[in-house]
């Protein structure tokens, strides 16, 4: 709608380099007022870096930034904000211990005789919240609201500063369908009032729904800029990964290729934990991939943690290999051959300051106890084997794992558990934040492991992925197991339908 107006943000020839890697190489980017512009690319393509360059977090090695035609250079987010560029990051960067009103208005709070006017601040906050359709108490602590609400408060803050440019970095990763719809509604309101919105996401459906134009980055360089209506999905993905999408289609359904054992490896009966997940029954068979699907907050991770002993169940019991098993802590699960990769690999998965080698053998070493060290040679062999099998880069066992990219970190985490040769492998969001190529690798590996007789639990927020990889899909909603779907042609729509009918049931009772 604004192709002919002047761009409000004009980046030319942006280059940002870090020791050893050029994160951005001569990238051009334009943002017009009154549009939603999506920034796409695989992990490591440079999307985050571009945003940080624009907002002054990273210094530019080359190139210039023009804001409404005027060259600018920012030395920090505060300056960028003052100039009218507001950013809402994926991890909501607000202070949960402050009130909603303070989070929105701190930095430009209303004053009376030099002191902050609390009442006026709350009133103004209410005004802003209403403008975006959010009805919460501005005096309440931010931390008392769910992440989706916190994110919208972050947007309210951007509105408060009369931002001309609003940058949303992966805003929908933690939202369910209803919340995404809300967010898009607010985005349209802002767009129509002339705000330029930069929307970073890897959910193509959402991008096609909300964005007017798209820019694709790959390996730090600009691939192209498109109008949404002019480019097909296939072309887009091809531009993003530089090769055909075909490899993903090769991940066939399992049921054609193997039959799971009849005797269950693990049987959970009325297993539950108050506040986390309602008591559920579940059977897992060797050689079978069981997917766990559900919207955000449905209890997927909670279910997995109970199966691993990461949390203790309040009710029910588990029978493993025909014998009762008390899952008091992860150690009891690991001893039986259960493995678990957490969805939060930074906080709960990797030990950032240790090397790839140490991280890889950590679970194995922990199981052996402190006295019997894993011999250096064995460790090196294992590292070599898995670096090759999973294509971990860089292939240096002494590299500090914190310096690896997200995808490679995930692979190291996976390797850690594969080394223990588990009988049951529970994967919580194993492909989150990973580029398309690596995703396919991991999905294929899951299939291969199942073929070798491992029982696998696969949890993912991407329904398409879960459905493609699994033999059977367990569906959760609002921390309750509401059903299972199995069969050769289970699709995403079936899962969504199941979730929806449950919702209807709740409404009508």
């Amino acid at each position: 709608m604004t192709e002919h107006a002047a761009p409000v943000v004009d980046l030319r020839g942006i280059t940002v380099a870090f020791p050893g890697v050029k994160a951005l190489d001569s990238v051009d980017f334009r943002l017009f007022p009154g549009e939603v512009h999506a920034l796409l690319g695989e992990n490591g393509a440079g999307k985050s870096t571009l945003i940080k360059a624009l907002t002054g977090v990273h210094a530019l090695d080359a190139g210039e930034i023009r804001l409404a035609g005027v060259p600018v250079s920012f030395h920090g987010p505060a300056q960028a904000q003052d100039a009218g560029i507001s950013t809402v990051y994926q991890e909501v960067n607000l202070c949960t211990n402050l009130s909603v009103a303070e989070n929105i208005l701190l930095g430009r709070e209303p004053r009376r005789f030099g002191a902050i006017d609390g009442r006026a601040m709350r009133a103004r906050a209410t005004e802003l919240l209403t403008r975006i359709g959010l009805h919460i108490d501005p005096g309440s602590a931010l931390g008392s609201h769910p992440i989706a609400v916190q994110q919208l408060v972050a947007i309210a803050r951007a509105v408060a500063v009369d931002a001309r440019v609003l940058i949303l970095d992966e805003p929908t990763s933690s939202l369910d369908a209803g919340e995404v719809a809300e967010l898009f509604r607010i985005m349209r309101v802002l767009r129509d009032s002339g705000v330029a919105i930069l929307f970073v996401s890897h959910f193509l459906d959402q991008v096609y729904e909300i964005a007017d134009r798209l820019t694709v980055l790959r390996n730090g360089t600009l691939v192209n800029e498109y109008a949404t209506t002019e480019v097909s999905r296939l072309e887009l993905v091809r531009a993003m990964i530089g090769r055909e999408l075909g490899v993903l289609d090769e991940v066939e359904r399992r049921t054609e290729r193997r039959t799971p054992d009849a005797t269950p490896l693990l049987r959970a009966e009325r297993l539950g934990r108050t506040g986390a997940i309602a008591p559920f029954d579940l059977e897992l068979h060797p050689g079978e991939v069981v997917g766990v699907a559900g919207l955000l907050g449905s209890g997927r991770t909670e279910l997995a943690r109970l199966l691993f002993g990461a949390d203790r169940a309040d009710t029910g019991h588990v029978v493993f290999d025909g014998r009762p098993l008390r899952l008091r802590n992860p150690r009891s699960a690991i001893a039986k051959g259960i493995a678990f990769t957490s969805e939060d690999r930074k906080a709960e998965g990797l030990v950032a300051d240790l090397t790839v080698r140490d991280n890889l053998i950590l679970a194995m070493q922990a199981a052996r106890g402190w006295a019997r060290q894993v011999p250096r040679r064995t460790a090196d062999e294992l590292v070599e084997k898995y670096v090759a099998a999973l294509d971990i880069r860089p292939a240096d066992p002494d590299a500090v794992v914190g310096t690896l990219s997200g995808g490679n970190q995930q692979k190291v985490l996976l390797a850690r558990w594969l080394v223990t040769r588990p009988r049951l492998l529970i994967l919580d969001e194993p492909t989150r934040g990973i580029d398309v190529g690596a995703k396919a690798q991991i999905q294929k590996m899951v299939a291969d492991l199942a073929a070798e007789g491992m029982a696998v639990v696969f949890i993912s927020a991407e329904l398409e992925e879960v459905v493609r990889v699994s033999d059977r899909v367990v569906v959760l909603r609002d921390r309750q197991k509401i059903g299972e779907l199995s069969g050769a042609d289970v699709g995403v729509d079936d899962v969504l339908a199941l979730i929806a009918t449950e919702a209807e049931k709740v409404v009508h009772t």
Partner: protein, 331 residues
């Protein structure tokens, strides 16, 4: 009512009622005082309460300064030494004939400057607060001894008058000017923390420094500023202490920083930062002071029982905070 305002199923907000910890501290104070009143004759008098304030005025001021630092997630181990340094500077400059107002200025400036130095080390150079303020502690105490190894008494008449002056309150209760200063400091601090941008930024930094920076708040100013405030308060506390002891000595207030930290923690401020009130810290000082008074009333107990009781009290408070306020899942 849309999806967003519907309460999340199955989750209890783990953010406690904000005032719970401070209320708890006041309750403990009342209980402890009440226990004393029941047990000892003459305990339940207004003057005993007034004496609590008189004896601990300096600690109240210091604890207020410490609150700022701890709210940002930091810590200041230098306060006891800065108090001692302040007493020494006061005594030495008065002895050298400086005018009292100049002495006050010099002392406050020194404390603030030391605080600034530590703040810069912490914010600019990334030295951890524990270490930076530990160095400050050594430096301040060392400077005491550089000025004078033996204690120096304060003989300046204006000072002595100020020290012994009393203010009569209704009910035959008398307090000193130190108490007034301490109360004023507490009120000013509360105002700053709740009604100024700087104060709210202090809380923001304690909640999440990176978020506060991304929100565009001046976190650098706050991070350095809280140490300046703590240094200033330690210096002011030192002036009050000089009024109290009428001497400057390098061995004054050894370990007082730990008392201040204990008072702040007992007062409900979280060591991790972001949560806490000045009122709580004041209450914390009063609790510690009451314990001390109780023990001295007992007469037969030696002073080291104070240490034990304070240790136990600290433990009880922390355990209480942990179990009630946080409701953690004990593994």
């Amino acid at each position: 009512m849309n999806v967003l305002t519907r309460p999340r199923a199955g989750t209890r907000p783990r953010v406690p009622s904000r005032f719970l910890p401070v209320i708890a501290t006041f309750v403990v104070f009342v209980l402890t005082f009440g226990a004393g009143a029941v047990r000892y004759e003459g305990f339940a008098s207004g003057q005993v309460v007034a004496n609590l304030f008189i004896d601990n005025a300096y600690l109240i001021v210091v604890a207020v300064g410490m609150t700022f630092v701890i709210l940002t997630g930091g810590i200041d181990l230098s306060v006891g030494s800065v108090i001692a340094l302040s007493t020494m500077i006061t005594a030495a400059t008065l002895r050298a004939g400086w005018a009292p107002w100049l002495v006050v200025l010099a002392v406050l400036a020194t404390g603030s400057l030391l605080g600034f130095g530590m703040g810069v080390m912490i914010h600019r150079y990334g030295v951890q607060p524990f270490i930076a303020t530990l160095a400050g502690m050594f430096l301040a105490r060392g400077l005491c001894f550089v000025i004078s190894v033996p204690s120096v008494s304060i003989k300046d008449p204006a000072f002595r008058d100020m020290a012994t002056a009393t203010i009569a309150l209704p009910g035959e209760v008398t307090i000193t000017y130190s108490v007034v200063i301490a109360v004023v400091v507490a009120l000013v601090a509360a105002y700053v923390l709740h009604l100024t941008r700087f104060g709210r930024t202090v809380y923001a930094v304690g909640g999440s420094e990176s978020s506060a920076t991304l929100m565009g708040l001046r976190t650098g100013r706050v991070k350095i500023g809280v140490y300046v405030i703590s240094g200033f308060c330690s210096a002011l506390g030192g002036l009050l202490f000089s009024l109290y002891m009428l001497s400057g000595y390098g061995l004054h207030t050894v370990g007082t920083e730990l008392d201040a930290i204990a008072a702040v923690v007992v007062g409900g401020t979280l060591l991790a930062g972001g949560v806490g009130y000045v009122a709580g810290s004041v209450a914390g000082v009063l609790v510690l002071g009451t314990v001390q008074t109780l023990i001295s009333f007992e007469g037969t107990l030696s002073s080291w029982w104070t240490k034990i009781v304070i240790g136990v009290l600290l433990l009880a408070f922390i355990a209480l905070q942990r179990l009630i306020v946080y409701r953690p899942a004990l593994p």
